[in-house]
Amino acid sequence: MAHETTTDTTAETLEFSTFYVGGALCGINILHIQEINKNVDITQVPQAADYVKGILNLRGRIVTIIDLGAKLGLEPVTETKDNRNIIVNSEDEHIGLLVDAISDVVSASRDAIEPSPSNIGAIRGKFFTGVLKTEKHLIGILDIDEVLKE
């Protein structure tokens, strides 16, 4: 039995990095995440879409920083000391997601993820691949490619 469970988890356990944006707790599959940093040296891009916070230099690469709050149709992320950029890899491009604050890494088996409802809080359901219910929280698992669609 024990043996069976181990094989099960290696195949089916997923890890999510969770974070707060606009009051909601969201998660991204940790395998999608390149790094998490706190880089305040953002160059603003006038005339870009509202949700584009700016661009920054990530070791010689130009990375677009997206205000995840604004992108998901919530309030734009307010500047605090807890702000972080989550650098994800989407369509062969590094893109930074500016979030309010970073929370824990949560692991869960694939089965524990339930299909997403039509909306989570004020965020539309299409941005999620599913929801994860933990003892304390409800974590919305973001569909990165959907979120980053122009």
Binding site: D41, V45, P46, E91
Partner: protein, 1067 residues
């Protein structure tokens, strides 16, 4: 098929390289005709031959087949049995094209149908081969070895040819495992070595005799590679040459040749051969699977797949697959680049130096030795520059790579179109970055095709025009000012501006009015508009529905510039300027607000700094647009911060209202600059010294206006920025997909401090600002200066409205300023309206006071055009928009004529009334002109002065005549220079002064003046020239022929003053 990727790749690359020069070689052969250059033919022959040799070994049957037939024809040419005329060369060229395409799509090559090429080639071989050898061409023989094995299907003709050259035939059996693989050799190399000593007739892998595991003997498993080889080497030397046991070297004697039962019937050889070679393999593969798994035999493994795909897949499917393959293989072939070993050594050297430099730097830093650190940083700086240059050089490729193929394009097209064209290529050695080279290929092809199709006439047309029947197209590449220039010129029919304009109007791209205002050059440049194509019908030669606009976009996206110059009947020159590379570009760094922006140096013309004290004088506001007068040219200004909507994130210490006021006066820079200097966040460490200097004389420094004068294509404008920094070489980095829609930027770069700066796209910025019309005006001003010979009168007008519907215009040169005043400030004194203005009272009028037009509506703010007449200012209240425009004066003086309105014309689709400012002033303030009336009366008393006035435009003639007559002069009019000259000869004694227009038909003002000044009868006469725009070049030219004075048309007051001066009349 052979699956060893590396070997296959090597073969493909090598073959493509062989093919690279073939085209130009063949064309040279064609040109030489009978006088065959044997070296050249041998070159091509060898290329075909090596490709064939490799193909046999790789199992690429179709390629082998085609190469073989090509080789046959070339062999005939080499032996001077065939004269390479242009038809035959065409067949060869097409064959080699097909060969190249087969090589590029190697995975599907065996399924490709090449029968029509084979047929065409066979027709050539047949026609030339002497009767008795005719059979041999088709005849196939098998070689039967002593042990009973058969080497199948050899062309008898080739064997015969080798024999006739006195060569011995060998069938050599290499063993891929023991002779090649275990000895660390490479099959391609072996074949190549063999070619040095003889000719490979055929090469195959003999799969039928691949040994099996059950085989006994010293080498249980072998994969024979059979090479049929012809060489002058004697049999006894052969063993040393081939480096294999003589057991496997078979001398081929006549007895071994047995006629093959399947003589090739001509049409289906490729399919037949392919199947034949595949079939036994498949048998083998299924029959002896063990051997496949043990022997390192890639060939059989692939056969079932290849055969299966050949059997099942429809051609369309195969195509789909081929594109897939192309993708994979395409990337492979592209990913390698030949680099000079010397250059690699240099790179290695520099890398070593860099490591040393780093060590020094670390040492210096660790020991806190400033001197050492400084030294090493200098060193690293130098090495980096060198390294950069060396790496750049690896990417540089001669432009010959793409220019050479145009000989073929021109040749094929001229044949097709029945034209005779000579192509000259100059500057093949000029090098360009690989990416740019690839990117300009299509635009260039388009331009060359255009020249051939539309530019050069047919020989008959040319002879009728008195030109050489053979047209010339020149492709010239050269370096200039850090850029590569490409000029495509032809001596064809050239572009006819009127025809282009007509076509553009017919297509609805421009309006009649717009065209009327265009210069010849601007009309020609209409072909750059999207949706324009001059070809009457879309031919398969040059028109594919895409036009010059695509060419322009492509070139602009590379940071290049395209210019057009054409003389009808003489030819067309198209000049393209390209940067050497795209990766690193020199740029001017500027800043607005907190951010820095890079401005590519290519676009930068000059930097302007207008001191605070002069901002008001130099910056003018025309309508909503600000302009700066730069050496007599009006330059539209774009304010970058407004364009991009950069928000001020810092607190404004002054009241916002004051700022608003300033902005209206265009001195808004003051407050903004002020803030930037004070805002600590805005001054990054690099800007420290500027910050300091800003503090010292903050007021002055911060009020000045910094303008970068830039140009991109048709646009030229001034970009207003907060600060100008250094010029730097920046590395262009792409921006993410979310920013693709922001067309204002060409990319981003990382600055020395690690922050990102955006690179501005000058051409897109202009488009965003809808600058087109303004810049067209500017351009027109430029072109008119050049167009001395043209006889159209242009004038700069200020257009405005009276009420919302009535359009009016007045000569721009009388306009002092445009102001906006509060209606509440207007005072009524003595029945007149005045406003306090610059310490005085400015009288205000509106058009309804003098002309029969509606009176102005009541508004809170009132736009006032300030005119200066007789040294006094007066304001005309109008309704915006106020704009400047340069137009060809084509005035209707009768229909809408009324007091103070000299006539009407159509500007931008509106009937516009021309206001006669002088008449207006005269009506409003007759006393201002009292002196003139007096002078006129005096002159009438003392005897009239007679002026000869030459002017082609009826409008100007009447206008000027009216002024002059009002002042008491008598006028003799002439419609052009020639008439004036005749009149002068007739009545020379009566005339006191000559006033002439410069641009006139038949004889222009320059010529008229020259005649007057060179004729002793008239040389005493003063000549005053009237012109719409006086450029320095004009004035210079005028002086050289003897023009005494220049006056601007419609500036009545000055003209009168000058005339009086020259006639020594008192005022």
């Amino acid at each position: 098929m052979f699956e060893d990727d590396e070997t296959l790749q090597m073969y493909i690359e090598e073959s493509l390289e062989h093919l690279g020069d073939i085209e130009s070689d063949l064309l040279t052969i064609e040109e030489a005709g009978k006088d065959i250059d044997l070296d050249l033919v041998n070159n091509v022959f060898r290329a075909a031959h090596s490709i064939k040799g490799g193909a046999g070994f790789m199992g690429l049957t179709t390629i082998k087949e085609l190469a073989h037939h090509l080789e046959n024809v070339l062999g005939l040419i080499r032996n001077q049995e065939l004269i390479p005329d242009s038809n035959r060369i065409s067949v060869l060229l097409k064959g080699f094209d097909q060969l190249e395409s087969l090589l590029n799509h190697i995975q599907t090559s065996n399924e490709t149908d090449i029968s029509h090429h084979i047929q065409a080639l066979e027709k050539i071989t047949h026609s030339s081969v002497p009767e008795e050898k005719q059979d041999m061409v088709d005849q196939m023989v098998d070689i039967v070895l002593t042990d009973g094995r058969i080497f199948q299907q050899i062309s008898m003709y080739e064997i015969d040819r080798s024999k006739s050259e006195g060569k011995n035939l060998f069938l050599v059996e290499y063993d891929l495992i023991n002779d090649i693989h275990r000895k660390g050799k490479n099959p391609i190399e072996i074949l190549r070595n063999l070619q040095k000593t003889g000719t490979i007739i055929d090469a195959r892998i003999d799969c039928d005799y691949v040994g099996t595991l059950e085989d006994q003997g010293p080498s249980p498993v072998r994969i024979p590679l059979q090479v049929l080889f012809a060489s002058i080497i004697e049999y006894d030397m052969a063993e040393t040459l081939f480096d294999i046991s003589d057991r496997y070297i078979h001398a081929v004697s006549d007895e071994m040749l047995v006629a093959s039962d399947t003589a090739l019937p001509g049409v289906q050889p490729s399919a037949m051969q392919a199947r034949e070679s595949v079939a036994p393999h498949r048998e083998q593969a299924t029959g002896a699977p063990e051997s496949v798994s043990v022997g390192k035999s890639p060939a059989p493994e692939d056969i079932p797949a290849a055969a299966a795909s050949a059997d099942t897949e429809q051609p369309s499917k195969a195509e789909g697959r081929s594109s897939e393959n192309e993708l994979q293989l395409g990337q492979k072939t592209q990913s390698s680049l030949r680099v000079n070993v010397g250059l690699l050594d240099t790179l290695m050297n520099l890398a070593g130096e860099l490591v040393l430099g780093r060590n020094q730097l670390l040492q210096g830093v660790n020991s806190a030795n400033t001197k050492a650190t400084e030294l090493s940083s200098q060193r690293i700086d130098m090495i980096t520059s060198e390294l950069q240059e060396a790496i750049m050089r690896t990417r540089m490729q001669p432009i010959a790579n793409i220019l050479n193929k145009f000989s073929r394009v021109v040749r094929d097209m001229s044949h097709q179109l029945g034209k005779s064209i000579d192509l000259q290529i100059i500057g093949k050695e000029v090098e360009l970055d690989k990416t740019i080279l690839e990117a300009i290929n299509d635009p260039l092809t388009h331009l060359v095709r255009n020249s051939v199709d539309h530019g050069i006439e047919t020989p008959m047309e040319r002879e009728q025009m008195g030109k050489d029947a053979t047209g010339t197209i020149t492709l010239k590449a050269f370096h200039d000012a850090g850029q590569v220039n490409l000029i495509i010129s032809d001596d064809g029919r050239g572009l006819v501006p009127e025809k282009i304009a007509k076509a553009a109007i017919a297509k609805g791209l421009v309006t009649d009015q717009q065209v009327a205002e265009m210069s010849e050059k601007a009309k020609m440049e209409l072909i750059f508009l999207p949706g324009f194509s001059t070809a009457k019908e879309v031919t398969d030669v040059s028109g594919r529905g895409v036009g010059m606009d695509v060419v322009v976009t492509n070139i602009q996206s590379l940071g290049g510039i395209i210019e057009l110059d054409s003389t009808p009947g003489q030819g067309t020159d198209i000049q393209i300027k390209l940067p050497l590379t795209l990766a690193i570009i020199p740029s001017q760094i500027t800043s607005v607000g907190k951010e820095r922006y890079a401005l590519p140096q290519v676009n930068l013309k000059e930097l302007l700094r207008i001191p605070a004290a002069q901002v008001k004088d130099k910056i003018e506001k025309v309508g909503d647009a600000a302009v700066v007068r730069l050496r007599g040219e009006l330059l539209p200004l774009l304010n970058l911060s407004q364009m991009l909507g950069i928000e001020k994130t810092f607190v404004d210490p002054e009241t916002s209202e004051e700022q608003k006021d300033r902005r209206k006066n265009l001195a808004d820079r003051r407050s903004k600059k002020h803030l930037t200097a004070e805002d600590p966040a805005g001054s990054a460490p690099v800007e420290e010294h500027e910050e300091r200097s800003g503090k010292d004389r903050r007021y002055r420094a911060s009020s000045a206006m910094n303008i970068a004068v830039v140009s991109a294509g048709a646009f030229k404008y001034g970009l207003v920025v907060d600060q100008l920094h250094d010029s730097e070489e920046i590395v262009v980095k792409p921006v993410g997909r979310h920013l693709k829609k922001c067309t204002a930027y060409a990319g981003a770069t990382i600055m020395g401090d690690g922050k990102v700066a955006l690179i501005l796209d000058i051409s897109n910025l202009a488009q965003m600002a809808e600058l087109a019309t303004v810049s067209e005006v500017g351009q027109m001003a430029l072109t008119t200066e050049d167009d001395t010979g043209k006889n159209k009168d242009r004038a700069a007008l200020l257009t405005f409205k009276n009420t919302d519907t009535g359009h009016f215009a007045a000569p721009l040169n009388l306009v002092e300023r445009i102001e906006r005043i509060k209606t509440a400030d207007i005072e009524q004194i003595g029945g007149r309206k005045v406003v306090q203005y610059r310490g005085g009272a400015l009288p205000l009028y509106e058009l309804s006071q003098v002309a029969d037009v509606d009176s102005l509506p009541e508004k809170e703010l009132q736009e006032v055009i300030v005119f200066k007449v007789k040294n006094r200012e007066l304001g005309l209240m109008v309704t915006p928009p106020v704009d400047t425009m340069e137009v060809v004066l084509n005035v209707d003086e009768t229909t809408l004529k009324q007091p103070a309105i000299s006539g009407s014309m159509i500007i931008n689709g509106h009937t516009t009334l021309l206001v006669d400012i002088f008449e207006m002033v005269k009506m409003l303030n007759p006393d201002w002109f009292a002196r003139e009336a007096l002078a006129a009366a005096e002159m009438a008393k003392n005897g009239e002065k007679i002026l000869l006035f030459a002017e082609d435009s009826a409008f100007f003639r009447n206008q000027v005549k009216k002024y002059l007559e009002e002042d008491g002069f008598k006028i003799i009019e002439a419609e052009d220079g020639l008439l004036a000259w005749e009149l002068l000869k007739e009545r020379g004694d009566d005339i006191d002064l000559v006033v002439t227009d410069l641009e006139m038909p038949n004889m222009d003002g320059f010529e008229l003046t020259r005649r007057i000044k060179n004729d002793p009868r008239f040389s005493h006469l003063k000549v005053i020239a009237l012109t719409s725009l006086a450029s320095d070049a004009h004035i210079e030219k005028g002086k050289s022929v003897g023009i005494d004075d220049y006056e601007i048309k419609l500036d009545r007051e000055k003209l009168m003053t000058v005339i009086r001066q020259h006639l020594n009349l008192s005022r």
